[in-house]
Symmetry: C2
Subunit: 308 residues, 2 copies
């Protein structure tokens, strides 16, 4: 048994006017609570330090740079790293990253139990659009403010297991899980900010959005025989509702713990990384069962091309 106790730290809304210092205080409170519940790892959502700013359009994207972090860690988030080290707790959170050479990514990091960053991931599957789209009920400008991630889907050894990261919309894409599965991933950590209504189909509300969240995460866990921890920023940000539904899914694809609120809330579960082994050596023993000679289109064709 290789048991690690994971705290999925769902966060309630962050309003546009709120400063990062207030947010870090909330994150520290969640971390202290996680420590009290025996957590070895705390997982915060995507863009954990700010509101989900891609809903706001600015013509000059340089004006959006205020939402980005130029260093990690930086002074504002230093207390998180210090506290995590004191608690000997690994940590993951998402933030908007502005690199020294001017690139913008939707990024997540993973630390070890000493507060050292051991993994960085940049969101590959950016949803939404790049230009103001007045037909939508609200904007989702991730393709305006971010470039697609350029680090692939790496995995890292940490806490005695093999970990991977993904961000929000990545979780709907089976390629995300599979590329990590092919590196033996045992636990995938995913933060998200998901509007409670489809901006292009108003009858698709929170119930269906939560269903798709569960379905994607459960399938990814089952089909790669790994744990998945998916963590929301939830609730109403400046009038725009986000789903909650943070959940921890076991390697059989079963939900073992799930959030019940849309606010700051810990979802804690003791996860045995050895529970990944049975699936990996039987029905999902890739070496015995996968047939890559028939998968070529997946890595060679981007868009769908119907037959003549």
């Amino acid at each position: 048994m290789r048991e690690i106790t994971v705290a999925a730290a769902q966060m309630g809304p962050i309003q546009r006017a709120e400063g990062r210092d207030v947010v870090v205080c909330r994150m520290l409170a969640l971390m202290d609570e996680a420590k009290g519940r025996g957590a070895d790892l705390i997982v915060y959502p995507e863009l954990a330090l700010t509101t989900f700013f891609p809903r706001w359009y600015v013509e000059d994207t340089a004006q959006a740079d205020a939402w980005f972090e130029r260093d990690m860690p930086n002074e504002t988030v230093r207390p998180l790293f210090d506290r995590a080290a004191r608690h000997q707790m690994a940590m993951s959170f998402g933030y908007a990253e502005l690199t020294p050479d001017g690139h913008h990514f939707n990024t997540a990091i993973l630390t070890d139990g000493s507060g050292k960053i051991v993994g960085k991931y940049r969101k590959v599957h950016l949803p939404g659009h790049a230009e103001l789209d007045p037909r939508r009920a609200f904007q989702h400008l991730e393709k305006r403010y971010f470039e697609p991630g350029n680090l692939g889907f790496p995995v890292w050894r940490n806490l005695g297991g093999i970990f991977g990261l993904a961000v929000c919309n990545d979780r709907r894409w089976p390629e995300t899980y599979r590329v990590m599965g092919l590196q033996g991933v045992e636990m995938i950590l995913i933060g998200y900010n998901t509007p409670a209504v489809n901006a292009e189909k108003s009858e698709e509300g929170p119930e269906k959005r939560l269903f798709h969240n569960r379905l994607s995460v459960q399938a990814g866990a089952y089909q790669n025989s790994c744990w998945v921890v998916a963590v929301a920023k939830a609730g109403v940000e400046d009038g725009f509702p986000l789903i909650g539904g943070s959940l921890i899914v076991n390697p059989d694809g079963e939900i073992v713990a799930e959030a019940t609120t849309e606010g700051d809330e810990l979802v804690v579960h003791a996860c045995d990384l050895d529970a990944t082994l049975f699936g990996k050596k039987t029905i999902f023993d890739f070496a015995r069962h996968r047939r890559i000679e028939h998968y070529g289109l997946i890595a060679s064709r981007t868009g769908a091309i119907p037959p003549p």
Copy 2:
């Protein structure tokens, strides 16, 4: 709207001693009932003409050739093709295929409304094992009796839409759906024979097996915005129970119809192929969102390789 009425023709058990003629009679009865319910397409399960013979070990595999069809159609199944043509109903079923040059495949075919075969698929993902394995509660010798399919995952235009086929264990592999999704598939037809107990883990019973069946099929439908029709051979064959749970899933991943028995049973639904369009042009518009530069491992690495 491009509505086609689909009848998922779940079949109850076929005992080892039963002849194909008896089975064809049952299939004809289901077809006539489907006609009465307005079906444009009837979908039978994997290995629809015989018992699930890979549970039986024979040392000399040539002795298993009696389970295979050397021609399609042949005299035994000719009544199915004739009746389907009379009903102007398309049809799909699975059978064990022995080719003129001696190759063995777990095959499914698709006909148009005139009884002409327009598509053939050979199962790519063979589960189980090739040698007698006394540690298992029962045998699952698909790797003994079949070669992996050599036709890839083709799609065909039929009934005004784009169709693909898969067989049983293929449905657990996201690659199956994705390769067809990249060819614009609108409806995937999948037959299965799934033991109600995991042969290597007796505590995994029918409830969990049905859950994995639904999860895999629903995720494949949602993530490729297509209809999926999954059809069981169900019930107890010579003492060995198979799950039922035949189901039709819409392009949102929702179950719209599901079997309630483990016997011969039609599950009928009017499926609008245009319901696939919204997902294909928004969240799963592959051309805008997929990033093939990060998917290389999927088509180049067969087995999982953990990091050092």
